[in-house]
Subunit: 311 residues, 2 copies
Amino acid sequence: MTVLYQRVALIGLGLIASSMAHAMRQYGLAGEIVGHAKSAESRDIAVQIGLCDRVFATAAEAVQGADLVVLCVPVGVMGEIAAEIGPHLASGATVTDVGSVKGAVVEAVAPHMPVGVHFIPGHPIAGTEHSGPRSGFATLFQNRWWLLTPLDGADAGGVARLRALCEGMGANVDEMDVAHHDLVLAVTSHTPHLIAYTMVGVAEHMRRVSNSEVIKYSAGGFRDLTRIAASDPVMWRDVFLTNKDAVLDILGRFTEELFTLQRAIRMGDGEHLHAYFTRTRAIRRGIIEAGQDTAAPDFGRVPQGGEKGKG
Amino acid sequence: MTVLYQRVALIGLGLIASSMAHAMRQYGLAGEIVGHAKSAESRDIAVQIGLCDRVFATAAEAVQGADLVVLCVPVGVMGEIAAEIGPHLASGATVTDVGSVKGAVVEAVAPHMPVGVHFIPGHPIAGTEHSGPRSGFATLFQNRWWLLTPLDGADAGGVARLRALCEGMGANVDEMDVAHHDLVLAVTSHTPHLIAYTMVGVAEHMRRVSNSEVIKYSAGGFRDLTRIAASDPVMWRDVFLTNKDAVLDILGRFTEELFTLQRAIRMGDGEHLHAYFTRTRAIRRGIIEAGQDTAAPDFGRVPQGGEKGKG
């Protein structure tokens, strides 16, 4: 493998940053990896387990001399970090981020980027429900999508190099427009997460009457929902606050569809329900064909992983 | 292991029945296993792959001489099957079912059960998104819950024997009231499935504008939802039609909660969102502690199984 960047600075040392560190090392993509985290404990762990060659107490120090800076902090603090590091960025450096929302990040970060620095927003669609510097692993990005949303007039060479890094870590790269990214993610990720949180909230309410049975018998659809809903609260708060318009649009559509199904249940309209449930199978097939999933029952998790399709 | 029933008749040869056949054979719990499926193809497969020692073209024939009859058909046809087999059941036989709804099954089946037959409704909370006689496997019930909802005055010996069968296949058994079962399942399984179907319906609509990107970038929360929504449409239609009251109750609560979160997004109320998302983590921890799931990232499915907690 080729070293693509001489010094990579990871700002924020959570799941994505630590997975990038492992992957860049494993595939020999970076000369030196330095990092910054707000928490001293995270910084200590990062050195101790070999994520970073050096860590710094401030983001401003961490980015000095780096030819790639990756912002791996919650979307809500990107602007603040950008303001801090702007004056310290090396000329010709590339700055990217891994935020789940792109419009708000561009708005917050771009004004702080000096002339001669290539700011190329990005979003790896990969993760687990865990967080922190110990949660990363080198194969997280294997065969996952990494979306880049270069701005008008982006430097083609800079984009190509960043793309090569993502591909070097095993990801498939696509480029798209910032606003389009935010709409697509509102459908595929943001709204589903909000719904999962909501359903878990309902169950918590019921749990009080049902004396923990909800948890005990959660092998049904509820279990996967809780996994989604266990994700980092700060990250998700910021996602919803910063991708507000697209999420509210999709939520409106969702509520309309749900009311239609609810009415079919109330009226005993079995034909409507059957037709609706049959259509969803086609979507499922599409996803398997698109290679984002496996057809193995229950993702191959047996026997512990039980339940789906049994209510 | 002890043979608990001399002849078990499986009516309907889908995922649950075929998994029971594999498990009963593996653990030596049944003398003979016979079966019936409406489809000649399913019957042929059942003999060919060794699920059943013998198959019958009608349910009435299949149950003759059986000391255990298991109804593994969609909830909506339980009554029809019960009417057919009633006159042919052996005296002293136990009849159980594996339907996801218990109130409607009891209403449909009980009137057809002759005196001297023990009708003990049941519900294994286990499954995958696949169906048909080839989809079963012996370990499906390992460490899953199997709920029994015996009626007033149920024969204690009959219940104990059926419980031993379920435990022999690796399940944990709990007994509860019929109505309570239907409420608990509405929360943990039925409503989550309806929501999954709805979200997939929304995405299908969006897909037309987004040219398959929804599918392509589905590694987010959407992917698990589609897996839920790929389940058998007939089974789920019947679940919603027959557990109508409990599902409509939970849906009402869900909509209220969702509107509260939606309003918080619209008003930019980050504190409300953060507090809500934080609470759901406790539920998640409860589920891990209850042993229905593993704390391994992404259920250990890496690298293919990517995404959670990353939007």
